[in-house]
Symmetry: C2
Amino acid sequence: MTSPVRLLLADDEHLIRGALAALLGLEDDLVVVAEAATGPEAIAMAIAHRPDVAVLDLQMPGADGVTVATLLRDELPGCRTMIVTGHGRPGHLKRALSAGVRGFVPKTVSAQRLAEIIRTVHAGNRYVDPELASDAIAAGDSPLTAREAEVLELSADGAPVAEIARRASLSPGTVRNYLSSAAAKLGAENRHTAVRLAQAKGWV
Amino acid sequence: MTSPVRLLLADDEHLIRGALAALLGLEDDLVVVAEAATGPEAIAMAIAHRPDVAVLDLQMPGADGVTVATLLRDELPGCRTMIVTGHGRPGHLKRALSAGVRGFVPKTVSAQRLAEIIRTVHAGNRYVDPELASDAIAAGDSPLTAREAEVLELSADGAPVAEIARRASLSPGTVRNYLSSAAAKLGAENRHTAVRLAQAKGWV
DNA sequence: CGCGGCTTCTGACAAATGTCATGGCGGCGC
DNA sequence: GCGCCGCCATGACATTTGTCAGAAGCCGCG
């Protein structure tokens, strides 16, 4: 028998992380060698313990799972990464895959299933939850140009156009044009619903 | 020794629920008698299995934890309820307490700690996470009137005033007045930032 | 009973926003 | 090189929103 798979677990919810560590530890071919509660901590722990697979939560303080995965790809090429998430948006999956992530699963799977997927990933294969994958395909690519997306994101907190223009170093008129065309592309009647739509698709 | 505490676990994330069930089951004075993934399912399971303590996630499909707790208080007076949540907003805590919930904890606590709190709650005492409590005190009470809150909530998805008026069966002018006064009370410069603020405080 | 607060409405005005046409600039593909 | 597309801007216009004053009915509290 080969040596066990060394795991890093990163999740800001101690309850989940601890429970997960306990359950995965029961599998005799898996061993949790490090845990982290924040993005930066995950990176530090990964470098210190050099796990075979890093299981990362998508939403963490400091840096999200995809960001951590991106850094890890450069720092620790031998370490496979996978994302576990509560509510995954289509856009996140795309970002994750281009960051070299090899597994993407929702928290609705069982621990049993997660263990299998960890083995799959460790073997060098990919695994993406079928439902999330079909969502991503259905959502398609963002129809927004770079500036449209940027301006839309800046308008996410409900700031007036003048404020957005200031933050983007653009003319207010230009901002209104971008917002208008972004809303048209998304089929929204105003920029606020446009923001919601884009966020739901994970495009911002 | 007394008989073990019978638990109901409700959380839509199978991974967490299963892991939690396993960990809490290790405590020899606790036993998980039922699990549920949705609000309605939690209610049905509670009535069927009559647990001593119901551990409810705040965000679940169908009906949220507080709603479930409210129903349970009437249906199963002998059953203590507690809420476990990822990101608890101040307003939620208030709603939960008035629904008769006896425990309110974030998912950042350890399983060890959760087990102790379950015992505390089962003994008839209350437990509220200190940090969440101080947040709630700092946030204070909502300054909004019932209608202001209602209209603000309807405007949450960015719908235009005409749409909100239709849904609330109010005159557009009235809606604008409510939104205006709500924004003024919250110190926001428009209704969209007002919505964000109110949501952050848990007032909507 | 009167006072104050909440609810609901109207009307009017100012400001912000959405829409459209138009134009210049720069890059990319054929 | 020419055309297309994205980027940035301006100006004008219609629409939507925000703000304010005023007014009526209802309810609870002292």
